[in-house]
């Protein structure tokens, strides 16, 4: 459903506030289905915000965005999908090491990756991925 909306209704993202509403629907969907995704996202937010220079904001298409200064480290949609920008080299390496790391759902030929957070282990891995991006961009 998420990928369908992104692919076919993505043009609606230019309407101000619609991304936030779409993300609110994702939140409601996760809670109705009894998933703990929102708790995992809260825990990731609490952890990553401790790092020097990190700020959070609403992603332009909805979701939680992590910033280092003016640069975006990545964002998490409320269905637990973490999107992050790394170098192509790191992306390749990560995808070879761990099958859970995928091409970005929209930009396959780029340094962007996508990773679904479904349980606590995924949550810890997401934090380590964000840490990797943090160290990478801090240089």
């Amino acid at each position: 459903m998420f990928l369908f909306v992104i692919k076919y209704l993505g043009f609606l993202k230019f309407i101000p506030g619609l991304g936030v509403v779409f993300d609110a629907w994702l939140k409601i969907w996760e809670v109705i289905n009894g998933r703990k995704t929102l708790d995992y996202i809260d825990n990731i937010e609490a952890e990553v915000e401790k790092w020097t220079g990190i700020t959070t904001s609403i992603h332009k298409y909805g979701g939680l965005q992590f910033n280092l200064g003016r640069r975006e480290l990545g964002h998490i949609h409320s269905n637990g999908l973490l999107d992050m920008l790394l170098s192509r080299k790191i992306k390749q390496q990560l995808m070879e090491e761990d099958g859970r790391v995928q091409h970005h759902h929209s930009f396959k030929n780029s340094g962007w990756i996508s990773f679904y957070i479904k349980d606590e282990a995924d949550m810890d891995f997401a934090i380590s991925l964000l840490r990797m991006a943090y160290e990478h961009h801090k240089k």
């Binding site: 509403v21 609110a24 629907w25 959070t56």
Partner: protein, 306 residues
Amino acid sequence: MKKVLTPLFNGYLVSNLVGLLIIGLTKYLTAKTYDFLGGTYTLAEFLIVPFLMGIIAVWFWRHEPLPGSRLVSRAWYNSFIAIALSFGFLREGVICLVILSPLLWSFMLAGCYAGRYMFKRDNQTLNVSVVALLAIFFFVDVMSEHHYENMVADEMVVNAPVSTVWKNVVAYKRNTSPDKYWLFKIGMPSPVESTAEGYYLGAKRKCIFSNGYVFDEKITTYEENKNLIFDITNQPRDPEIMGHIDILRGQFLLKDNGNGTTTVTGNSWYRLYVFPAWYYGIWAKSITRNVHIRVMEHIKEISEAR
């Protein structure tokens, strides 16, 4: 008193009071000033107001940790309070509010999240800008004329000759079969009977609903065994959904299939008084479709009875 007026309570109370005040004032002022706006609920009232209510509620809750799951449940409670107040003060019907609730909840939650990040940043320029943008969008939308009409068509094959079906299409005896559509089951009136003063052009017709509602109709096209069109001349005004939709016209088209069966096509034209149409249109279509199905299944049953 301090124990009652906690930030949690104030968040619910003030956001709902502001929401109620905006809707009430908008209804009052527009009805007084602009006739064409009277009775219409706009996109801004259903989307901007709950969004703003979410922001206001979170302003009161900004000093406590607000994990996502808590915000989702609080947005739900706040939506429930808003629905109860709308029932009490705005005289809205229960089914109408059931239909509204998913929209209210999602926009309230979006407002809560937007508020959470706004107050976390504590940037007054940003906060004022967001509220000003919402206000501009609200006024522009409320002051604009809204008009939405649509038509729904459904088809059914009846295992009876066209002359038998025609007789039952113009008027049919009371339908006592149980409702199948979930909105009818929870109390929305469903069509049960149709009467006509005669089988001719200009005859008055009545469509009677399960709760006693009567739609007055007049036959405007009468082509025996082929085409029946009737305009709705008077329909009940009610706080339930029927106050927010006008059924304008109905039509039954009959086609003799040449094998003793008849294809019946039911068409209905309606006008909506609630917006956004992309949301309420889905409901209006579903309700109209189920009115068609109930009527056409009944026509099929009595036409096929030997």
